[in-house]
Symmetry: C2
Subunit: 301 residues, 2 copies
């Protein structure tokens, strides 16, 4: 019996330019990338806000991927829009603009049918809103949290409060250092575990990911792609693949989380191979499984 996932985050249009081309009005937003990646494993209940310019075909596409959009509020105004340009070194980018639009006043509403969703992903939004969402849910089995430097610097007390109430924190190396004040990885992880956090996943982009838990560290490399076309949404796709796989697991423990981070990096690799969400659409479990096995082969003696 698969477990449904509740995902809260942004719904956006992206205007993106990379060395491989340009896309305007591309579907984006953390909740959308996350949900599409996770949809290959289980059903996703999406919570977010879009403007009334958000296309009906996009919502239809989400439905076709088993994504429930009862929690997708359509507000008067324009959808969140992000513009960015990637460098020749595709790991570098400049943000050209961030128009929050209807996302500026986002206050996540949890439809009654969502309240018992067993697995929760609190995407990268203001920690106060993440706490609100948690308060509206009935004891979920597993809660994962994403955040960013902005919240570490501006709303640390609320962020620490959310952290103390979740099972898993997804973070990158520099965020870990900022959050804990420890330059050393092991020290940073120790500080967070001492706060009561059971699982920490360090996202390292092209260098893979690390899971830290009671059973120590687990490393996976990133799946190496022939051509990274557009990295937008890779981190959210990573989280979607990881949490999505947990929806298939009867028990969520260290062992399932190790496999989950591998699925995360596999979904991240599919995401970057095409613009916007396109790399996540023409996928199936066979293709995902093949990359999972290839990646495991790359660490075998």
């Amino acid at each position: 019996m698969k477990k449904t996932i509740l995902a809260v985050g942004s719904v956006a249009f992206d205007d993106v330019e990379t060395p491989f081309g340009k896309r305007q009005n591309a579907l984006g937003g953390s909740a959308v990338f996350f949900s599409l990646a996770a949809s290959h494993f289980t059903i996703v209940n999406l919570v977010g806000v879009a403007g009334n310019d958000y296309p009906a075909e996009a919502i239809k596409m989400l439905h076709q991927h088993r994504i429930d959009t009862t929690g997708l509020e359509i507000a008067d105004g324009l959808t969140f829009r992000w513009g960015g340009r990637y460098h020749q070194d595709i790991n570098q980018r400049d943000t050209l603009y961030t128009h929050l639009n209807v996302f500026a006043d986002f206050s996540p509403k949890i439809p009654p049918v969502y309240r018992q969703t067993p697995i929760v992903f609190l995407g990268n939004i203001q920690p106060g809103l993440q706490l609100d969402v948690l308060g509206k849910l009935q004891r979920p089995e597993f809660v994962a949290l994403d955040t960013m430097n902005l919240w570490i610097n501006t709303t640390r007390p609320e962020l620490m409060k959310v952290i103390s109430r979740v099972d898993l924190l997804v973070i990158n190396d520099s965020e870990l250092a900022e959050l804990t004040g420890a330059v050393n990885l092991l020290k940073g992880l120790q500080i967070l575990h001492e706060l009561g956090l059971k699982y920490i996943v360090i996202k390292r982009g092209e260098y893979g990911a690390i899971l830290s838990s009671a059973s120590g560290l687990f490393y996976t490399p990133a799946f190496p792609v022939e051509q990274a076309v557009d990295p937008t949404g890779a981190g959210d796709s990573f989280a979607g693949g990881m949490i999505g796989y947990l929806g298939e697991c009867e028990h969520i423990d260290c062992d399932s989380l190790k496999k989950a981070v591998i699925y995360g990096t596999v979904l991240g690799s599919f995401c970057v191979e095409d613009f916007s969400v396109d790399g996540l659409l023409n996928l199936n479990r066979r293709k995902i499984g093949a990359r999972y096995r290839q990646l495991r082969q790359m660490v075998k003696l």
Copy 2:
């Protein structure tokens, strides 16, 4: 029966400042770090040049580590000296000065007893000199090559010539991109393999290493240390651990090279935990083996 390794490279004094302290006149140089790391596996024949200020105790210490210094020329003048300061983020450093001194006119001399050494490590020196060394040796079984951006940019034709004559190239991500013109890792590796190179090892510092060979890619994470005190020589210690282990292998093939890169990252981890070569001195195979097994555990499901 262990195989001896011939190592050519620099012998230096380092004046180093890191967030954890300061050392003046510390032993350094690629040949010294390499040899001390490799000495835990087999005998090393060192080829390099020092000035007549190089201390007798340093040479005695090398002998105590089974390092043959017949090939260490003592020239009139001062030993190569490098001064550097590491940032709070220990992966960043500024070179304060590079006094080549006697190293400026280094022309490697191969003692007759070294000519049949089966395994060769051509440390990071001018490719023309690396070619000279190769010309003086009697068909070694395995040759590994290190290089740097300087030679890629200034002596590319000679560098390409050496590359075509060795078995293994040790390089980092940015050097691979500069050398091949390919931003993508897989493309860069393909270009080098098409030149006839059998093995390529990508050093990624704290992110570990990749071996590329006919049997595909093999990834190992770096061994995570509690405190990186001084990264000077980590790359050379990595190479020393890797090539040193090959000295223990009856057959040098993909399988032995996979294990070798793990030993490389283990020796690199011991190097960074103390200043200068100190982290490589109070070591034994038991300590090295323990980290090897811990590292393997960190990729196991």
